[in-house]
Amino acid sequence: MKRGGLAPYLFILPAGLLLTLFVLYPMASLVVVSLNRWNILRDEMVWVGLANYRTLFAEGEFAHALVNTVYFTAVTVPVGMALSLGLALLLDTKLRGVGLLRTMVFTPVVTSSVAAGIVFVWLLDTDQGLVNAVLGRLGMTPVPWLQSERWAMPAVILMTLWKQAGYNMVLFLAGLQGIPETYYEAAALDGAGTGWRRFRHVTWPLLWPTTFFVLVVSVIHAFRAFEPMYVMTRGGPVGSTTTLVYYVFDRAFRFGDMGGAAAASVIMAGVVLALTWLQMRARGEETGP
């Protein structure tokens, strides 16, 4: 280690400058914008205090977007976690070809949300889609998935689950492989060596740090979901898939209402920060170079 004058600062400068300009300054600036009435199409900024926030809560649309985000999160997170944990348990073996199987589950993760969204729009098409064709064989009437207020969100959730399962599976697999074999051997001696009891008394408690990490990451991911909705439903029908990020995007870049959209963003940032804080408190972790 060398202590050396200006050199370290010069090495940090490029990253530091960019992150200041495009993350730290925007964070402060976001709060300021949220306190102004500012329509970018008319280009005037008028200080209005908390008026934007009051408007948000007075209008039903923001509340609707909030409810939709909670709905999306409350389903994708637990179902997604159970799914990927199940996959990890299933594929944590020395089975022949297990590498190929993991790759098959993981490939959707690297396809873009746009591509995956379009594929699912087709799979869920009312007349030409695979899903309704299968339902038809089973004697059910076709469901207009993406045109229905009731089924559009489940459709978007289905696509998200498919696309993300492989990612969380990899995290769970790493967690499972981090559990020392000796614990399982000890459990076997105590008669808890197989099946549910082994999972309940050995795997689950020892896997908890991974599970908790996956939980936090999944919640934050779910909170910023935008692309699946943009591609599959454009936030519709009748706002039934308009999540918070979609609401911000619409308000800012379709209607030009920067102040209102900024206020909604501040609330979103508050939620994300609170979640991160909870995570850090729960883990009691120290990060330092």
Binding site: M1, P8, P14, A15, V110, A116, A133, A165, F223, F249
Partner: protein, 263 residues
């Protein structure tokens, strides 16, 4: 039993991709009639037609330029900062590290409005600059290299120091070759994320000639709505680059997620 279950579950995950490929090779008439199971008639003309009907060549170029520029830029800024944090002592080191790391918490979608305002002020909206510059630094990369460099024994650099090599030369000639796995990991994550990104081009560009592949694909979808054989052909060629890169660097990619938990 377990083998059977494993294969059928994994099969379910690739099923949409298999059907995507099959439909991209059907004639428009077959696709419209909802033919699903018959073997596709290898109607490759879909690909040529999809490629021609919007300017996909230009969009590929745009995506390639943006993804490569962001990826290489992020690697350079992260290497430099990571080296300073791992190997040098200076006033305010911990505080600066924590502040820079904290930028990882706030998702870009939350900051899009003020970033848009900054870019508009410098006149960069609808240029490559808007798609590249805001992403040139990333806390994740800094963290990755700081941690990686700390695992490399200091003795390896000592000889170079005694020979009077500059810090820059040491970073470039001694540490970077040793940090290859971390460089590859960051390359894979960033390139794929940038190639797949829709949000930035959607907000920061406005003309046809600046569209990236993902944005172009959403416009293509609006145009061709339910002509699924054409749509699937376009989806296939937009997807091939990221899937290909993933297959090439699969081991490193998976290891990267497993050890850092981030993408």
């Amino acid at each position: 039993m377990r083998t059977l279950l494993a294969w059928s579950v994994a099969g379910l995950f690739v099923l949409p991709l298999v059907f995507m490929l099959a439909t991209s090779l059907r004639t428009p008439e077959e696709a419209a009639a909802g033919v699903l199971l018959a073997p596709p008639s290898l109607h490759v003309a879909n690909y040529a037609e999809a490629w021609r009907s919007t300017n996909f060549a230009r969009q590929f170029l745009n995506s390639l330029v943006v993804a490569l520029a962001v990826t290489l830029g992020q690697i350079v800024t992260s290497l430099l900062a990571g080296y300073a944090f791992a190997r040098m002592e200076f006033r305010g080191k911990n505080a600066i590290f924590l502040v820079l790391l904290s930028t990882m918490i706030v998702p870009f979608q939350v900051l899009v409005i003020p970033v848009f305002v900054v870019l508009a002020k410098v006149g960069w909206i609808n240029t490559y600059w808007a798609l590249v510059v805001p992403s040139l630094a990333n806390a994740f990369g800094i963290f990755l290299f700081t941690q990686f460099f700390k695992t490399i024994p200091y003795e390896l650099e000592e000889a170079a120091y005694l020979d009077g090599a500059s810090r820059f030369a040491i970073l470039w000639k001694v540490l970077v070759p040793l940090a290859r796995p971390a460089v590859v990991t960051l390359f894979l994550f960033t390139f794929i994320a940038e190639w797949n990104d829709l949000f930035k081009p959607l907000v920061f560009t406005s003309t046809k000639s600046m569209r990236t592949v993902q944005l172009g694909l959403t416009v293509f979808q609006e145009q061709f709505k339910v002509e699924y054989s054409l749509l699937m052909a376009a989806v296939v060629f937009v997807t091939v680059p990221s899937v290909l890169i993933f297959f090439l660097g699969q081991k490193q990619f998976i290891k990267g997620i497993a050890t850092t938990g981030l993408k």
